[in-house]
């Protein structure tokens, strides 16, 4: 059974038909990437999975259970870790407080401590800055913090929205390394990216979204060689 399955999901913003029947699956242990231009509906897809938007039609199943209509905090409890676009950490809270909030659904303080140390081990840079305010971290560190915060809830699937946005090329590399490392540790990831080249390098499979519909899908290596994808997203010349 796939970890996540979307079946012809439709989303409207008022009169605008943002998602026109999106279907996709993510299997356990995969990295699946969702590519597409601005406004194609990538972020909308993630927001409807985590319950921040309610789809008008369609089915979203988490390990077989339909989660459409559940409030976001219930969906989090079922194991969806959403890392929103634009590194939205809590800027006035410390690194530790940010991470602790990631485990909000857990009441056992000792367990929170344990996970905190685990995440800090994964991100030594954050460990050095554990008492610093989140807003004072560099862009790359903030992205690490946002990812670490989502890891705190030990999600069944992690939704990553544009993790490389606005980062220097070196940092982009290291973020993708982190993503790969997390995946090797067993985290299932749905990755939304504009940087198609890097995304296809780390992903197992990919989908291409265009104005609210999936137009292409397949193994990442195949997509990377698809002439249409190359022309539209990889900047290849004729």
């Amino acid at each position: 059974m796939p970890v996540l399955e979307l079946e012809s999901v439709h989303v409207y913003y008022g009169p605008i038909h943002a998602l026109r029947g999106v279907s996709l699956t993510v299997e356990r242990g995969e990295i699946v990437t969702l590519l597409g231009a601005n406004g194609a509906g990538k972020t909308t897809t993630l927001r409807s999975i985590s319950g921040l938007i309610r789809p008008a039609r369609g089915r979203i199943a988490l390990e077989g259970r339909n989660i459409v209509g559940l409030p976001p905090h219930e969906i989090v409890k079922l194991g969806v870790g959403h890392v929103p676009e634009g590194r939205r950490i809590f800027p006035r809270l410390s690194v530790e407080e940010n991470l602790a909030l990631g485990a909000f659904t857990i009441t056992d303080r000792q367990e929170i401590r344990r996970r905190l140390e685990e995440v800090l081990q994964l991100f030594p840079r954050l460990a050095e800055r554990r008492r610093q305010q989140g807003g004072t971290l560099s862009g790359g560190e903030q992205q690490m913090l946002a990812i670490g915060r989502a890891l705190m809830m030990q999600p069944r699937i992690m939704l990553l929205d544009e993790p490389s946005m606005g980062l220097a090329p070196v940092l982009v590399e290291s973020i993708f390394e982190v993503i790969q490392r997390l995946n090797q540790r067993g985290t299932t990831i749905l990755l939304v990216e504009q940087n198609a080249r890097m995304a296809l390098e780390v992903a197992h499979r990919g989908y291409v979204l265009e104005t609210g519909s999936i137009v292409l899908e397949g193994p990442a290596a195949e997509l990377a060689h698809d002439p249409k994808v190359q022309a539209a997203y990889l900047g290849a010349r004729e």
Partner: protein, 555 residues
């Protein structure tokens, strides 16, 4: 020198402004030292001093001092020009405050002739020079001098307030019979006010030279001692402070209670509620309707009515919270503002007059009884309010450090992400509204019983604005900030009655100044961060033992 001219002119304009809005004349009756020196003079002198100081700070050499004197002189000149103008031309059609008495006040009673001019120029130059000279003092010395001057002015101003506190001989020594401070009194106050910060500095220097020996434990002991002194001070306050101060502190306490309540909503959860007065009103009117025999619905006692009144506000908090759950920022502010007005208009309405008393309000509200003893004096209410504040404080601390407190802070920082963390937005927001409302309602119920009557005018928009302003002043989200803000915004104006008329002017100036100089508030939340760091250090000194314990557990 151009700087000196500019600052002098700005100072001159400030002096004109203060004079023409009437602030200077309003304080002419407040004698600070002897018969002659009034608070008006002090204001003018302070202006010259500030101008001199500002010039001196920009130019740090001898020309700076000259410039400071020049700037002060310009202020003096501006004052004389204004005095002459007011004396010769009748400006009262435009500026009501340009009264015939004003020239005398502005020229220190020396007339608008050559003598007055000479005196003003001389005084201006001298005070400006001193202001410039202040910049030559080391920072600690400068702070000590300025604090001492401020304390002397405050003591002079608060003569009537102090008289019931100190025994007659002390008062007789400090003050002249009809005027302000006597000369020896002034000297004593200044000397004391100077001695305390200097002594503290000396002690601090000594402490820092043996920082090694000043252990965490000693710091802790000092903190405990400070707490004990604080508790004793608070507990004994009405016994020596007299009726007037008790009355003022009752109102400050009611505002602290409201401030703590709104702090949960605005400070912790980040929800800007501009209709907070609604909860205050609902608490007060619940108390009134439940206990006053005038309306004849119920005649409960105070203690039976109190929990019902608080419960009513909790329910109303949830009812108001429900429709605004989805709103953020400005929209929330406007909507809650509307709710506040709706509550006020409802109690004012003829429609509900048989039940809520209409424009005349309700009187004969129950007093709390403790056995045969009836609480009816402000000094006694003080304790009731103190207990209420203590409870609200305790609750605030516990909530802040709890799971729900963290959820509030997450919502305040970023509502979407908070939801993505698994925080239930609905319950978190409703809880903030409900607990915040409970504190406002408690405050209202106590208020109704204290003043023994409620009228709709007591629940105007200004109350909401006051509570928001005191939070901003103290530092949003900070609990000590609430107390500091309430003292400054509610306590001080009560003590300085002349300010009442200029309250909004002073509010405006203070808030603008705050935004520029202390954007985080007078007592910002960061102190909590520092406390946390101290706690972490304590943890470090304890760490080896803990590590040992943990490893033993592991084995």
């Amino acid at each position: 020198m151009r700087r000196a001219l500019v600052f002098g002119l700005i100072g001159g304009f400030a002096a004109w402004h203060l004079s023409l809005v009437g602030l200077i004349e309003a304080f002419a009756g407040r004698r600070l030292i002897g018969q002659g020196v009034t608070f008006s003079y002090v204001l003018l002198l302070a202006l010259m001093l500030t101008v001199g100081y500002l010039v001196g700070r920009r130019i740090s050499n001898w020309t700076g001092l000259l410039g400071a004197a020049l700037a002060g002189l310009l202020v003096g000149l501006a004052l004389w020009v204004l005095a002459l103008l007011v004396a010769t031309v009748d400006l009262r059609t435009v500026f009501v405050a340009a009264s015939p008495a004003l020239p005398d006040i502005l020229t220190f009673n020396r007339g608008t002739g050559a003598v007055g001019l000479a005196v003003l120029l001389l005084v201006g130059a001298a005070v400006g020079f001193l202001g410039g000279g202040l910049t030559w003092l080391p920072a600690t010395g400068r702070r000590a001098v300025l604090t001492a001057l401020a304390i002397a002015v405050l003591v002079g101003l608060l003569r009537d307030v102090l008289s019931p506190i100190f025994p007659a001989p002390v008062m007789g020594f400090l003050f002249t019979p009809t005027g302000g401070l006597s000369l020896p009194g002034t000297a004593t106050v200044l000397a004391l006010a100077l001695a305390v910060p200097i002594a503290r500095q000396v002690l601090a220097n000594r402490a820092s030279s043996h920082r090694g020996s000043l252990s965490v434990r000693a710091l802790q002991r000092r903190r405990v001692a400070a707490r004990v002194i604080g508790v004793v001070f608070l507990a004994s306050f009405p016994l020596w402070a007299g009726l007037f101060l008790s009355n003022v502190s009752d109102f400050v306490g009611l505002y602290i209670l409201m401030g703590l309540g709104l702090n949960l909503v605005l400070g912790f959860a980040g929800l800007l509620d501009l209709g907070y007065v609604a909860f205050f009103a609902i608490g007060a009117y619940s108390m009134a309707v439940l206990t006053s025999p005038e309306l004849g619905h119920f005649t409960l006692g105070f203690w039976e009515a109190l929990p019902i009144a608080v419960a009513m506000t909790v329910v109303s908090g949830i009812l108001i919270g429900l429709p605004v759950l989805r709103m953020r920022g400005d929209y929330l502010a406007i909507t809650t503002l509307g709710f506040g007005e709706i509550v006020r208009l409802l109690v004012l309405s003829d429609w509900l007059k048989p039940h809520l008393g209409g424009a005349q309000g309700v009187t004969r509200i129950a007093r709390p009884e403790l056995g045969p003893f009836v609480i009816d004096r402000p000094q006694e209410y003080y304790y009731l309010i103190l207990i209420g504040c203590g409870l609200a404080w305790f609750l605030s601390v516990r909530l802040r450090d709890s799971r729900i407190g963290r959820a509030w802070m997450a919502i305040r920082e970023d509502e979407d992400v908070a939801q993505a963390m698994g925080i239930n937005r609905v319950t978190a927001k409703l809880l903030a509204f409900a607990t915040g409302a409970a504190m406002g309602g408690l405050s209202g119920a106590l208020f109704a019983s204290l003043v023994n009557s409620v009228i709709p005018q007591s629940f105007s928009l200004l109350v909401s604005i006051n509570v928001v302003a005191l939070l901003v002043l103290g530092g949003i989200g900070s609990l000590p900030g609430v107390v500091v803000g309430a003292l400054a915004l509610v306590g001080l104006p009560e003590l300085l009655r002349e300010f009442q008329e200029y309250r909004l002017l002073v509010y405006g100036v203070v808030l603008v100044a705050m935004m520029i100089f202390r954007p985080a508030g007078l007592w910002p939340e960061e102190t909590r961060v520092r406390e946390l760091e101290e706690a972490a250090e304590e943890g470090k000194t304890r760490a080896p033992a803990e590590v040992a314990a943990v490893t033993q557990d592991g084995a």
